[in-house]
Symmetry: C2
Subunit: 502 residues, 2 copies
């Protein structure tokens, strides 16, 4: 294994010209300057912190899945016989205690916009192990989850009137976040590996050539979901990732890498050559996963969004953002005047669990063994059910190698009314048949980059198919039981047959 | 007690013309429309929720202070002999259970931008009991704390270039939040009761008469801290509150009532006549506290920010915003694309504690007995220490009737160099003497509405007094032990003597 000394790595480039008006005006609070006097015998009547003796919480604990070496980790798949899972009790005491990483006295107190040190350092070490960034001055900020982090990153990089480059089918919230801010988006063509680097390059090489682009500044921010893309399930190959980075360098782009499904890579390690060093050499990385865009970035132009929502639980409302130190400071200042930091219950429990109980090894095993295996089993079960109950001539999907979704293409060209009425009419009819048969999937148009109707009630949803180019439905294997998935495919098969039959 | 039927109350006025560009463009996500199909036998492969069986948290519990009738509540003041506090164990099970309000299955799952129903309903009922709003269509949204709620309220009401009216000394974060957004502020004179209604009226009656106002739109949003104001400690009388509401009606203003210290009212019930009905008739309200601006508002023009930060613990990162239903919907949509909702650990624990263990009565007793008593004792102790160790000819303060702060005026006119050098020089000299003597208070200029230097390190702080009109220091009695408070006053007394002595 080739170890590169951090000091041999380059420093991040200067991206200060990318800051929005808002971000350029963010600054450190003078009040925080006082904290630095707090040493030695100093008595402070400064910061208005409530005394911890007033907290009515005297201790906090959670029973968690054990990830110690030798602990028995049961299969969590609902259809299989339950094996007793080894559990442990994580406790956070009221006051600091020997052998404890956190106490309620500190984790329930006001803190910095960075998140608490123990958890932040754990996340940073994890990023270093898994992604091994290729420049020196990167850092990590805790966030209140990826949606909040994304909103702050957008506020840092975009002014009203700017446009962000996005995949042609994308996570609806990513667009709903920017639209009210007067920030637009430009769709980039996708293929089975996600955003096309060729299409991205073409779009930017020829920017200004269409009438609507004539007076528009060239976009310089890209939002993308490289692994288990939502909604298409597409995962970028290593080569695609390199190509995207290369276009980003050519056109001086910032890449927002939203990667909540990173650990749900089903083919992890399979058929792929493992590299020596953070996966820059063609294969997967040290834990058998695809190299992230962050790990391929030598400039500090990738902002990577990680979250505990898909690996521990959405309700943690904790994520972490990895990026160059300058951007980190801006996000920290923004946190200080909004969310401040994630919940102290979340941070305290996660710190104790991850640092004191699981450790880096245990957390990695949890991700690659427990979480990945669960979703791999679920994915396979939905695919098997589909093949068993759905007519493959009428609907098909590309097998996802990561994530939570399958993106089902409906072969309308085999519908007897194809061409006689619009695709929208046929898709809406199919969606309504599904609802009649009590199976619900998400209409593909909801992931479209085209303008969408607002304030819909269910009756409206049954009357609208908002993108005539969209002949897809999104199904997830994340939530339903195995029996429910199979029954859902039975109902979908019937709905499809009915919709195509006359 | 006069009970007014809700249906007899007026509806909120239409404030839609107050919405910012951003807020006017916010809309409900079409994805959420799908939730409404979820009834009967519907099988969903729709929403990408992780299955709860993947959560590694099997149960959650916290030892809390008991507030059942008859439970012994010990005094929490650190200097006094500790009485054993009655405690109880709050537990949140993994799956829903009879007799339990919440489970991790739901509280750690994705949810709505409103916060979880059980906790939100508890907060709404609490608001109704304590503040008894005087119009029909008010509602409550959970927030990630008052700083986040304030940032969202500002985003709802203000565009770049707008100005907000604020108290002449105010919470620095309130200004640091708006400055990067290009939103300005206009200071309104204060007296010992906080913002002056006369000054507010004068300012608005004569808006446009000064050169700098000539091309400025008249501000229509006021931010104020009516109770235990930060930093001055001022609390508005009932009459002042009525006067402010009247000016708001005359000039059609929205009032942002930031009220984190509401329950820290030391004179609660004292000398005041209790009213029959939510305190509109001249006295305090049903629990012996000052009527809030919300409780005096018949139009829906008050946005009230409450937080658990000062009453339970800052690390909860949970607050709640009470306002007209139209504004509530905008904040909900904003939550959906940013914080989503507070941490599920926080929400689950708070819901179980407040709903199942304490109840409305227990929570009110906790606020008025435990929290209020703690801060009343602390406040009195700091005042006693001040009188014992500080020369009252050189420094004085107005006794606060609420909050966490005393606002110490330095009588520079008694300094032998007064007039020979600027007040800033004398104040900076005093601050440096305090630091030398190891006692830290916040330089008053940090609460000034004037522009402040940024990115200061401690050395800078010792070289800058950024507002020549400011001859104050802010001290808090919230955090230090009783011994520390007394010793701090000894050191402050020495520093003051030294600064004035030659």
């Amino acid at each position: 294994m080739v170890v590169i000394e951090s000091s041999q790595l380059p420093m991040a480039q200067d991206f200060s010209s990318f800051l929005s008006l808002e971000a350029a005006a963010r600054k450190k609070s003078p009040l925080k300057g006082l904290l630095r006097f707090m040493k030695g015998d100093m008595l402070s009547l400064g910061g208005g912190l409530p005394h911890p003796s007033t907290f009515p919480f005297l201790s906090l604990s959670a029973e968690i899945t054990a990830m110690r070496p030798g602990a028995v980790n049961g299969d969590t798949a609902p259809v299989k016989a339950k094996v007793a899972r080894a559990t442990e009790l994580v406790t956070v005491p009221h006051a600091p205690q020997a052998g404890k990483i956190e106490s309620l006295t500190t984790s329930l107190q006001y803190g910095m916009g960075t998140g608490i040190t123990s958890l932040r350092e754990f996340c940073k070490e994890h990023i270093n192990r898994v992604h091994c960034p290729k420049y020196q001055d990167w850092d990590v900020m805790l966030s209140a989850g990826n949606t909040d982090a994304y909103a702050k990153v957008v506020a840092m990089l975009c002014n009203r009137g700017d446009k962000i480059l996005v995949e042609e089918w994308t996570y609806p919230t990513a667009l709903e976040t920017i639209e009210p801010l007067g920030i637009g988006h430009v769709a980039v063509k996708m293929d089975e590996e996600g955003m096309s680097a060729v299409a991205l390059k073409d779009l930017l090489d020829n920017w200004g050539s269409t009438p609507e682009q004539a007076n528009e500044a060239k976009p310089r921010v890209v939002y993308l979901i490289p692994t288990g893309q939502n909604p298409t399930g597409a995962t970028m190959s290593v080569q695609r990732r390199r190509d995207i980075i290369q276009v980003a360098q050519e056109h001086n782009l910032i890449l927002i890498e939203d990667d909540p499904y990173y650990y749900l890579q089903f083919s992890a390690g399979r058929d792929q050559q493992q590299s020596d060093n953070g996966a820059i050499d063609g294969g997967t990385n040290a834990i058998g996963l695809m190299p992230s865009l962050l790990s391929l970035d030598t400039d500090g132009r990738v902002i990577r969004l990680d979250t505990f929502s898909k690996t521990l639980a959405p309700g943690c409302r904790v994520g972490y953002v990895s990026m160059n130190a300058h951007f980190c400071a801006i996000i920290q200042y923004h946190n200080e005047v909004t969310t401040q930091q994630p919940s102290g219950f979340s941070q305290g429990l996660l710190a104790e669990m991850l640092v004191s109980h699981w450790g880096q090894e245990g957390y990695t095993r949890y991700l690659t063994e427990n979480v990945r295996t669960e979703y791999l089993n679920r994915c396979q079960h939905l695919q098997t059910s589909f093949r068993k109950h759905v007519n493959g001539n009428l609907a098909s999907f590309i097998e996802p190698s990561a994530g939570m979704f399958i993106w089902i293409k409906i072969h309308l060209e085999r519908h007897h009314r194809f061409g006689a009425v619009s695709d929208s009419v046929l898709m809406l009819d199919l969606f309504n048949k599904c609802v009649e048969n009590n199976v619900l999937m998400v209409p593909g148009w909801q992931f479209s980059c085209k303008p969408k109707p607002a304030d819909m009630d269910p009756a409206d949803l049954l009357n609208v198919w908002a993108d005539d180019q969209c002949t897809y439905l999104r199904a997830t294997f994340a939530y339903a039981t195995f029996e429910q998935m199979e029954e859902a495919m039975v109902r979908f098969g019937h709905s499809l047959d009915a919709a195509f039959s006359k």
